[in-house]
Amino acid sequence: MPNLRYTKDHEWVTVDGDVATVGITEYAQDQLGDIVFVELPEVGRTVAAGEEVAVVESVKAASEVYAPVAGQVTETNPVLSDAPETVNADAAGDGWFLRIRMADPGEFDQLLDEAAYAALTGEA
């Protein structure tokens, strides 16, 4: 899927116009185990690429989620506050975290493609 990219920190990104949707990968949710809490940023916040934007907590560990691209947070997933297990059930779909209006849509193309991410996780 040319419209789907990844980061080395196990986030996935899809893009629609200049808005990027961000979540954590299937590999990440599997490593974390049962997710019990997701902390999301405030809508309207301006983030730099690589900046911490969310925290995901499982029974094993708490991990940071980083903004894959720079821009402004336009939306967060309202489902996750009451049902963080959605991330386990559907990490790549209903378990999305947030949307960012990209400051530089060109940043998206510099992220990892599917093959590069698969190589990173050893699942090529």
Binding site: V36, F37, E57, V59, K60, A61, P84, E85
Partner: protein, 498 residues
Amino acid sequence: MSDTQSGAPDRAEPLLFELGSPGRSGIDLPAPAGCATRLGSAERSTGIGLPDLDEATVVRHYTRLSRLNHGIDTAFYPLGSCTMKHNPRLHEKLARLPGFADVHPLQPISTVQGALTVIDELARWLRTLTGLPAVAMWPAAGAHGELCGLMAIRAAHEAKGEARHRILVPDSAHGTNPATAAFCGFEVEKVQEGTDGRVDTASLEAALGPDVAAIMLTNPNTCGVFESDIQAMAEATHAAGAYFYCDGANFNALVGKVKPGDLGVDAMHINLHKTFSTPHGGGGPGAGPTVLSAALAPFAPLPWVLPEDGGQLRLLEQATGPAGASFGRLRAFHGQMGTFVRALAYCLSYGREGIRQVAEDAVLNANYLRSALADTLSPAYPGPCMHECLFDDSFLDGTGVTTLDFAKALIEHGFHPPTVYFPLVVSGALLVEPTETESRTTLDSFIEAALDLAARAHGSEAGNFADAPGNAPRRRADETRAARSPVLRWKPPAAERG
């Protein structure tokens, strides 16, 4: 009710709220007469919902709970990174001497000279064992000691007119390190780890810069290995104008053998409750005295214990005179007297040579476990370890058994599980710290249990692990549900709410 009073230790123990019965009491006191309050309409007109209980019910409740507990006084407790060693009873006896146990921080200074002497003598031991010139005795525990060290570091930078806002922390540091740095207002930056479980010196050097206030390293680190490049890292840190905070939680592996001052450390807390024998793990009082280098000593927190003419000791409680640069008080009063007494008793009963053997035996015991388990479990890193040995979960590959299952099954054999899923840099980590106070017999029985479980994980019984522990007072807790829908307080049953 009669069932719960039978004393059978395997029954679920009701809450005190469920044991209460209206009208019961432990002590009958007449209602106070002629006592007017000035609370007016703010005065409470109803009860606050505490249960009515008699003394025997309360004593039995807590005694039964204590019988459900697993402690270092009941069995082996190899909880990695926590140093659950035996606490000699002699030290308990000394800590309970009335002169120490009943001392009050507001007593006239002339009446607490003995207590101050204990603090001062212990301070001398800690300075000698660490090779550093100053020690702040007051931090309440390890993380509080980290705060003390970072506040001294911040004060030292401020005194030089420097605003440095970054602190470098590797993944193998204790989890409290980044939390302390963030709490202190610093930005935390991770440092990469090499493949041998040690901090990559080149990555550390590359991350250093004019805005770095300090590095925070744990040595031996949470992978159980010694940071062998620590002196080079200290030199690079100092060359960049930053300070070196060492987390001393694992001092049990080094005490009497290595002086952190010789390694270039500027500040390090010492968990007296771990290395120097105070019962801990139940939240009971700890102490985290923090040693400081000459560069940081002037900023040490108040009060300072100083000698007076005539041999008396006094407390300097203001940031004046020699303490003029102190960053101020860190807490009310003077720390945990009982822990100080136990720690000094520990030093005196072992002596210098004995303390050296503490570290040697702690490392020997960990390596005995490691080598006996290395062929069956999967050590995370090659080579000998320090005071704790780290395994990953690759030995469970293909069995369907997880690290958590394996840890829970150890309970069935009468052992407290090791630390699991920490450090995070290792998949499904099992961190085992036997400490020096365990006999070879205990270690052998643990080894036998671990080998047996590993064999069963690969056999037809692998499915049974999901139900472990089968014979404990409490079976497997649903950790996910507990975290997702926590029940934080008891509420009366709806029918009785009236």
